[in-house]
Structure formats: C-alpha cells, structure tokens
Symmetry: C2
Subunit: 415 residues, 2 copies
C-alpha cells in the first residue's frame, strides 16, 4: 500500500482547524470561485470523464449515465455550489445557554464536526456537492468515490484544491483517496481519531458494508421502504393522486412508495382505481390474497419478501388491512424508518398514525416524495438519515456540525 491514510487524516485535521476559523463571507467568496473554476475547466473535466467512460462502456446504461459529465451537468454542479453559498452559515449559532448554580455562563455553540469521510459510488457530482456542503459547514473532507470515476474525481478535486491554494488556504481541506481497493476503503472506515464521521451515499449494499465494517461513527442514509396507507375515511381522489405521485413520479429514489396499504372498508372501491391509474405507468401490482381477489388479473400474488423490498422500480406491493392498528403494525414491522403517509379525513386516526409510526418523516395527506432537503426547504442536503442518532431525515448543513460548550467564569472551583 502506497497510500498513507493516517497522514491524510493528520493533514485533514490541521486543515479543518484553520477552516473552522474562516469567516462566512470568505467561505462564500471561495464557493463562488470554485463554481467559476469548474465552469472554466469544463473541457478538461470532460476529457478526464471521457477516460472513465471509455473504461465503463460495457457497464449498465444507467450506471454509465450517472458517471457521465457534459457541459450542462458541469453547469448544474457549479450552480449547486452557488446554492450552498446562498445558505445561511450554521457555524457560530448559539443553540442554548444559561448560568449555572456556581455562576458559570454555559453556552452551547455550533462548531464544525472536523473531518468528514465520504464513501460513495461512481457519481462525480457527489464529489463536488459533498465538498461544497462540508466546506460551508467548516469541515475538511476525505473523499472515496467509486473506482470507475477516478479520473474524473481526480480532476475535480485538483481544480477545487487549486482554488483553495490560490486563495491562501490549505488545499488539504479536500483530499481524494486515489487507491480504490477494498482494503484501503476498509482501513478508511476504521480511521478513528482522524475522521469524526463517515457518510456513505449510494446503494443499500454500500451502506450496509460501511455500517458493518466501520469503527468510526457512521450516519446511515438512504434505504427507503416507504408506505402509503389509505384509511377508511380517506378522500379517495386525493389518495389516488398521492399514490400515483409517490410511486410513479420518480420510482428510482428512496422517498418513492413501495407498499400501498388499504383499509378493507374501501378496498373494493379504491383498488380498481389504483390498478387503472398505475396501469398507465405499467406498474406491476403485487397484492395479498384479498387484493388479488378484488383485482383479478391486474395483480400477482405477493410473497413475504415483497413487504420488505425496496423496488426502486415500477412495482408496488399492495395489502388490504383490517384496521389502522394493523396498518401501523405492518409499517413498524417492515419499514426502513424513512417516510410514511396516511390519507384520511379522520382526525383521531391521523394523530394515532403520526404518533405511533416509527419513521424519520410521517405524513398526513401528502406524498412521501417531499422527503428531501430541497423540497423541505433546507436548501440542499448531504443525505437522508435513516438512523436515530445525530440527525434524522433530510440532513442540511446543520447535520454537518456539532456543538461545543463554551464556559466562562471568574475563578470558580467545584465544591
């Protein structure tokens, strides 16, 4: 192994200490310069990307599409940096404060996390997006992207580092791991003391690998087995629009619905409408026995695995439930704690669902598709946390910070 991860970690820590003290206007100035530099270097970025694409030509079309950069996409990525520039700086905010018994002033102040480790797949946009967000929140970042994007990532990071250097900042705020073996990735996940948090972004498999192998704290993101529950009292027209949107507007994303639960009292009326509407999108319905009884040929019989599957595709599991309680139990048993919605006009049932369903985001009469940083209004997101520690749901800039107690006295000692 030629790569010295501890050395990278040490450099990142030092760079992070300097960056933590940088005022907001200076950070914003640099974000604008980075955006500018990406646009100016569009041609060389595309040239590097061509090398990666040449290697990847036998891979799946959707994979290659995510890997591909062109001038328009580079413009989008540069715009992303300008959006981050426009966000309020989370650093320095006082969350709370008080004076204790001994007369000490105790203030809880937002500070950067320090060094963030990003592990992701062959999506070069993540390289810049994550760097921009980490930078604005005052963190150094060590990036480990998918090996298929290595030439592109090298070029992108080289450009961002050059901007830092040209402006008198430590370029080690951004570092890329250029040795993409699993062995190095594993060591990266165990760099305790050098990295404050690891954020994996990508497939469920990637995220699970990181959760299993890492000894550094991880924020688990992404997997979404989301449910739409249509209650007895639901406005069925509204319910139809919501399931259509939640399933079909963009089936490949984590906040798309994967299972529809329908109260038995409205199943016979509602399910044929669902089959009709989703039929236009060629959605495959996988129903329980009752659903199949109602829908006949329009549905195939689901098996137990369907309740736990995130299809990310034009497939929907459907189940008829006897009661709200059964719906809540089904969701809490099978969901990934991401986003769940109830469609109802019954206030009591709405409150029960919102209180009892265990998920980062619980909705009343709205599509699950709103679970993301932009739709929420957070401005941008580094991911959607499906764990309960530190951050839950869409993570904006504040999720990339921690707090520090600043305590001022005049000689107090403990009695």
């Amino acid at each position: 192994m030629t790569l010295d991860l501890e050395m990278m970690g040490t450099k990142a820590r030092q760079a992070a200490y300097d960056l933590a003290l940088l005022p907001t206007t200076k950070k914003n100035e640099l974000l604008a310069k980075m955006a500018q530099a990406l646009l100016e270097n569009s041609a060389v970025i595309c040239a590097a990307n061509e090398k990666d694409l040449a290697q990847a030509k036998d891979l799946k079309a959707s994979f290659v599409d995510r890997l591909r950069l062109d001038e328009d996409r580079i413009k989008e990525i540069a715009n992303g940096l300008l959006q981050v520039k426009a966000l309020p700086d989370p650093i320095g905010k006082i969350d709370t404060g008080w004076v204790n018994e001994a007369g000490l002033q105790i203030v809880k102040r937002r500070v950067p996390l320090g060094v963030v480790g990003m592990i992701y797949e062959a999506r070069p946009n993540v390289t810049v997006d994550a760097s921009g967000l980490c930078f604005k929140a005052g963190n150094a970042v060590i990036l480990r992207g998918g090996k298929e994007a290595l030439a592109t990532n090298k070029k992108l990071v080289e450009i961002l580092r050059a901007v830092l250097e040209a402006n008198g900042l430590d370029p080690n705020i951004f570092q890329l791991i250029t040795e993409t073996s699993h062995h190095v990735a594993e060591k990266f996940m165990q760099l305790n003391g050098y990295i404050d948090v690891l954020i994996p972004r990508g497939s469920a498999r990637l995220i699970q690998t990181v959760v299993q192998k890492a000894t550094v704290p991880v924020i688990e993101t992404g997997a979404g087995n989301c449910h739409v529950y249509v209650d007895q009292s639901a406005d069925l027209q509204m319910a139809l629009k919501i399931i259509e949107n939640a399933k079909c507007q963009r089936p490949s994303v984590c906040n798309a619905a994967e299972t529809l639960l329908v109260h038995q009292a409205v199943a016979e009326e509602f399910l044929p409408k669902v089959a009709d509407t989703l039929g236009k999108y060629h959605v495959e319905l996988r129903g329980d026995a009752k659903t199949c009884e109602i829908l006949g040929d329009a549905s195939v019989l689901a098996d137990e695995r369907d309740w736990d599957t995130e299809y990310n595709d034009y497939i929907l599991a459907v189940r008829v439930v006897d009661s709200l309680t059964d719906a809540i139990t089904h969701i809490n048993t099978h969901n990934t704690k991401h986003s769940e919605t109830i469609v109802t006009n019954d206030q009591t049932n709405a409150q029960r669902f919102l209180n009892e369903v265990d998920a980062a985001c619980v909705y009343l009469n709205a599509s699950t598709r709103f679970t993301d940083g932009f739709a929420f209004g957070l401005g941008a997101e580094i991911g959607i946390s499906t764990q309960k520690l530190h951050a839950r749901g869409p993570m904006g800039l504040e999720a990339l910070t921690t707090t520090k107690y600043v305590i001022t006295g005049n000689g107090q000692i403990r009695q």
Copy 2:
C-alpha cells in the same frame, strides 16, 4: 447459547412503542413507585449483593467498594430516581417547524430513541440510574452489566419489572442480559435493527472494545485527558486554586486535570507554588525539562507517554510552553476532546483558546471539574460524550431522544 438476543430485542421494541405514548404524569408516578420499591426491598437487594461480594472478595478494594450496596447506597439510588422524576420530560417538545413552498406544515418533534443498550461494569447503581433515565425519556433499555454484579443486577431488575407489571405496563421496558460471556456481549453490540444506540460506561478499555466491535451506533463516553493552561496574564492565585481543584478534588474522575501547561513568562514564579500546594496532596509532578529545571527534586522527568495519559490519580504532567499557540497545539494533539481550561486576564487570548481548542467543553477561568450533568444544571446525566455525533459533553435526558418530522398537508404531491 441459551439466550435469544433477537427475541429480547423484539420484546424491547414492542415495549418501547407502548412506553413512547405514556404521558409524563404516569411516567413520574412510576418512577416514584420504583424508588419506593427499592427502599422496601433493601434487605433482599443487600442479600443478593452479599452473594456477589462473596465471589469478589479477592478482587481490588476499590472494585469491591463500587460493587457494594448497603441501605444508605440504596437510599441514594432511590433518590436518584426521584431526581429523574423531577426533571422536565423531553418528549413531545417541538424543536422547530415551518411551512414549506408546497404549503406543508413541517414540525420537528422530540421522540424517544426507542431501544437503548447499556454496557457497563460491576457498578449496580448504573443498572438503576440508566433504567430511570431511559424510562423518563421513553426508551426501553437492555442492560449488560459486569458479571461480578450479576446477582445484584438480577434482583434490581426484578424489582423494577415488578413495579411495571403491577401497574399494567410491559415489564420488557427493562431487560437484563443474564449470560455474561464475551460472545453474548459481542452479539449484543451487533444487534442492528433491534437496538438504536449502545452506550458503554466504564473504563477506557471497555469503551474502546465497544467502539471496535459494535455495528450498532455507539455514543463514546468518558475518557478525559484534561488540561489546565496558565497564561502569561493569569491571576496566579486564581490559577493555583483552579489547578488544585481540577487535580485534587476528585482525581479518579474523567473531568479531573491530567496536564498543567504554563506560559514560560510565569513558570518560574508559578511552578514552585504549584509544587507547594499540590505537595500537600502528595501529587507526583512529571515535568518537561524546563519544569524539572525550575522545580529540581520536586518533579520527575516526564516522557512522551505522559502527555497522553489519563492518570485518574495523584499524578500531574507539567509542561512549560512558549506561547498560547503552543499550548493550543499541545492540547489539540494530546487531549481526548473532553474538557480544557485557560486561566488568563487577556481577553484576546481567552477568545483564541475558546475558539481554537477542540473539546466538548472549553473553560475560561474555571475548573474542569464542572463538566458533568449535575454541575451543569442538566439535573442528571447518562454519561459524558467525547464524540462529536449526536451529543457532545454531559448528556442529559435530551441525549436519549431523537426527532421525527411530522408533516401535515391537504393532498400535496411533488411536482
């Protein structure tokens, strides 16, 4: 293995869902009843404790002391539950909220974490303290205490569970792992999906084992290599009182000072006073060359390891530094990110220290001994977090909660 950890986890999850809905008054009522039950069962608890003590009689005196319960200690433990009862309930608090572009009301509400796993040593008081705090924050808890306290822990948990059962609650809110092998402990640390967070409490070795082995999210607590820095402009009388308090008031705890840094301009005047004052407590001083030059026989020469050692004893490492910058660099290189203090009358230096030192708690002109939940005024604590994720510094009840986005609409779909 006779123990079914998954089954315990499933039971805990179910119990947690019920507990999450319990109103504050009911939780408080039950905490009072648990305190009462402990007092009433004092004799049987002591009898169980006698069995553990009989097995432990050849172990270190300090170990046996921590294991021992008597009527007074049981009273203290019961009082601890009443203190938790008196704390405000963190559940249900709305942290923030807004209406987004689409007209959805988005509210971020405090909810319990769910299931907390506690791993700790042979200190039976932790069994009750942790149970009380988790209960008040609406969490089920699975306890894994040191094997030397097994008989005592069994009895304590039996008493607490009986109170729950007698009051119509699920006793599986509190569960004890009664098989204390390392194999079972390791499996417990990897119960992803069943446990939402693991909190280890105890020695640095225990905590490091959990950090290394766990795949469940961990909150790292405890280790404290804390520094007192005496600046050039310090009030030396104040500085003397602070180092005396930080080192000697209770040397065995994590917020005690382990290293004294002194600006070279005041070292000759200050260090003999330190030797004099700490000499009364027979504190061993381990100094750098400059310190030894000033103190002669009153100090032994430190080696590099001393800067990284948490003595938890009447030993203090001492170093003369050339500047504030050197002091900050020393601290950021060697500290465990716990608690650090500067003694100074220089406002600029004070601000630099508070801004640039990387620790959960940074102090100006006060003893590091204030870093704990009670001294802070949080009422009680589940531990002191030395990591940056989720919670940092003394963790009160809020650290045992997470948030949930509750989103209400009237048919909104994503465009």
